[in-house]
C-alpha cells in the first residue's frame, strides 16, 4: 500500500505504524458521570467496518507525524489522507 502523505508525497505503508480506528482521537471526558463505560467503549469496542475506515497511522520511519488515512478495508484502496493534527483541531480539540 502507498500512503500519499500530505507533506511528503507518496510513501510506502511499511514506513508507518498502525494504531487503529480514528475514533481514538475523540477521548471521552474523564469527568463524565458515565466515564467508566465511555472509556471501556473508547478503549475496547470497535465499529470494525467492511468498507471505508478512518484510521490512525504514525510515520515512524519518516517525519513522525500522525495521519488520518481513509482506506477501504475490502480493497485496501486509500481515498484520503489528512494530518491527524488538522482532524483533531477541526473536531474541537485544542491540539
Amino acid at each position: 500500500m502507498i500512503i500519499d502523505h500530505p507533506l511528503l508525497g507518496p510513501r510506502d505503508a511499511a514506513e508507518f505504524v498502525y494504531l487503529g480506528d480514528a475514533c481514538l482521537i475523540d477521548r471521552p471526558d474523564p469527568g463524565d458521570e458515565n466515564a467508566a463505560r465511555l472509556f471501556h467503549d473508547y478503549l475496547h469496542i470497535r465499529d470494525n467496518p467492511a468498507g471505508e475506515h478512518r484510521e490512525l497511522w504514525f510515520h515512524e520511519h519518516g517525519d513522525r507525524s500522525w495521519l488520518v488515512v481513509t482506506r477501504n478495508t475490502l480493497t485496501h484502496e486509500i481515498v484520503r489522507v489528512e494530518l491527524a493534527r488538522d482532524v483533531a483541531l477541526a473536531r474541537g480539540r485544542d491540539r
Binding site: 500500500m1 510506502d12 505503508a13 511499511a14 498502525y18 494504531l19 487503529g20 480506528d21 463505560r37 471501556h40 467503549d41 478503549l43 475496547h44 469496542i45 470497535r46 465499529d47 470494525n48 467496518p49 467492511a50 475506515h53 484510521e55 482506506r71 478495508t73 475490502l74 480493497t75 485496501h76
Partner: protein, 416 residues
C-alpha cells in the same frame, strides 16, 4: 456408511461405485430448535457436539459459501496446547485431548499427526519464560520438555545455532503438538453432524436477525426466514459484520494473516518449529511442502490477501532461523481474515440478546481450538452454563477487568 478398512477393500474390489455423498443437501425448514450461523470449524463442531454429546438434533448450520471455504481451509494446520494463563491453558488442553480421539469419534481420517512442536529461545530471559510456560503446561497435563542446545541439535541439526544476532539456546518442546489435515476436520464434523440429523445448508447467507423485545427468535437469510429457539454465531473473521446485524458492537478488529507453502521437498523438518526472535513458524506437510507464516499484517481488513512487506519480514525470519530454506521456491501464498480481540483471547459466551450466543475473537489461533470451541459452545447452549474450561472467555471481560492478556500487550488488537 461407516468408513473402515473393510469398506475400502469392498469398494476397491467393486469399482468404487458404492460411495455416497458425505452429507445431504437439504432445503432449510421454517423452524429449528437451534440455528448455527457459520459452517466453519467452530460452527460445525458445535453442531456435532450438540448432537453427539447432548442429543440435540433439530439443528441447522447455515453457511454463506461452501463447507471448508473459510478460515478452516486457510490456516497452517497446527495444533498445540502451550498456553500460559489459567483462563486459556485448560481450554486448549481439552482441545488437544479431543484432537487425540477425534478420528475415532467422527469416523473420518483427519490425518491428526502429533509430530511435536518446538518454541525456540535465544536469550536467558527467554529460557526463564519458557520454563515458566512449560510448568504451566505440566500443571494442565499438556506435557512439556525443555530442550538444551545439544538435545535440540540432535533433533534439528539444520538450525542456525550460532547466528551472530540470535544464537539458539534451546527450545520448549510439546511432543503432543503437531498438524492436522485442516479441511478434513470440517468435512468430518459435517458428516458426523449430518448422520445424526443436523441439516447442513450451504449457499445460505444470514442477512439479519429476528429480534423482538430483546429476544432472538430466528434469522433472515438469502433462502428465507428461519425461526429458532437459540441462535449461535460462529463466523470469526466476520464477527463484527454479522453481530452488527444484531445491533451489537464487539471488542474485535478484523485483520489478515498470511501464509505460504513451498514446492514439495523430501522430509527435512521433523515437526513444527517457531522462531523466538522474530515471528516465523514452519512445518512440513505430508506432500513435502514447507508451510510457514508469521505476523498478521497489522491493519484492519476484510480482504483475504495481505501485502508484500509482511511476506518479506516472514521470509527474513525464516532465513535467519534455517538458511537452508533459501533454495526452496514458494508455490502459493494466501491470507485469511481473523477476529483480533482486544486481549488476544477468544469469546464463548451469551450476548445481551437473549437466545443469541457468540463464539469468536479467535485471533490467529482458531484452528487448534476447533474441537474445544465447539464442545464448550455446545455445552453452554445445551446446559445454560459455561463449560468449566471456558468460564473466563466472557464477552464483558473488558468491563469487569478479568482480561486474558496472554502476551501482555494491552488493548491494542494488532499487537497480540
Amino acid at each position: 456408511m461407516r468408513y473402515s478398512v473393510l469398506q475400502i477393500l469392498k469398494e476397491g474390489l467393486t469399482g468404487n461405485r458404492g460411495w455416497k455423498p458425505v452429507w445431504r443437501e437439504p432445503d432449510p425448514k421454517q423452524h429449528y430448535d437451534i440455528v448455527i450461523v457459520g459452517g466453519g470449524g467452530h460452527g460445525m463442531a458445535t453442531a456435532y457436539y450438540l448432537a453427539s454429546v447432548h442429543g440435540l438434533t433439530d439443528i441447522a448450520v447455515l453457511e454463506k459459501g461452501w463447507i471448508g471455504c473459510g478460515n478452516v481451509g486457510r490456516n497452517t494446520t497446527i495444533i498445540r496446547s502451550n498456553y500460559l494463563l489459567p483462563g486459556n491453558e485448560p481450554f486448549y488442553e481439552l482441545s488437544m485431548k479431543l484432537w487425540e480421539g477425534l478420528e475415532q469419534d467422527i469416523n473420518y481420517n483427519a490425518m491428526v499427526s502429533q509430530r511435536g512442536l518446538i518454541n525456540l529461545f535465544h536469550t536467558d530471559p527467554q529460557r526463564d519464560a519458557a520454563v515458566r510456560r512449560g510448568n504451566a503446561m505440566l500443571l494442565a497435563g499438556a506435557g512439556a520438555v525443555l530442550l538444551d542446545r545439544e538435545a535440540l541439535r540432535r533433533k534439528c541439526p539444520f538450525l542456525d545455532f550460532d547466528n551472530e544476532r540470535f544464537p539458539i539456546k534451546g527450545g520448549l518442546w510439546q511432543p503432543r503438538g503437531g498438524t492436522v489435515r485442516h479441511d478434513a476436520v470440517v468435512w468430518g464434523y459435517a458428516r458426523g453432524a449430518d448422520r445424526r440429523g443436523v441439516d447442513v445448508i450451504q449457499n445460505c447467507e444470514v442477512t439479519g436477525f429476528d429480534i423482538r423485545n430483546g429476544v432472538c427468535r430466528g434469522v433472515e437469510t438469502t433462502r428465507g426466514a428461519i425461526g429458532a429457539n437459540k441462535v449461535a454465531v460462529c463466523v470469526a473473521g466476520s464477527s463484527g459484520q454479522v453481530m452488527g446485524l444484531a445491533g451489537l458492537r464487539l471488542p474485535i478488529e478484523s485483520h489478515v494473516l498470511q501464509a505460504c507453502v513451498t514446492e514439495g521437498l523430501k522430509p527435512a523438518i521433523p515437526g513444527v518449529i517457531t522462531f523466538g526472535a522474530g515471528h516465523f513458524y514452519v512445518s512440513q506437510s505430508d506432500k513435502g511442502g514447507l508451510v510457514f507464516g508469521g505476523d498478521i499484517d497489522g491493519y484492519n481488513t476484510y480482504a483475504q490477501r495481505g501485502n508484500l512487506p509482511t511476506v518479506e519480514d516472514v521470509c527474513e525470519g525464516g532465513m535467519a532461523l534455517m538458511p537452508m530454506i533459501g533454495r526452496a521456491r514458494v508455490l502459493r501464498m494466501w491470507g485469511g481474515v481473523v477476529d483480533m480481540s482486544m486481549d488476544g483471547s477468544p469469546f464463548i459466551d451469551r450476548t445481551p440478546v437473549e437466545g443469541l450466543f457468540f463464539s469468536g475473537g479467535w485471533c490467529y489461533g482458531g484452528f487448534k481450538a476447533v474441537p474445544a470451541g465447539g464442545y464448550c459452545l455446545a455445552h453452554l447452549m445445551a446446559t445454560g452454563a459455561p463449560h468449566r474450561v471456558a468460564e473466563a472467555m466472557r464477552l464483558d471481560r473488558f468491563m469487569t477487568g478479568a482480561v486474558i492478556d496472554e502476551k501482555g500487550m494491552g488493548a491494542q488488537a494488532n499487537l497480540h
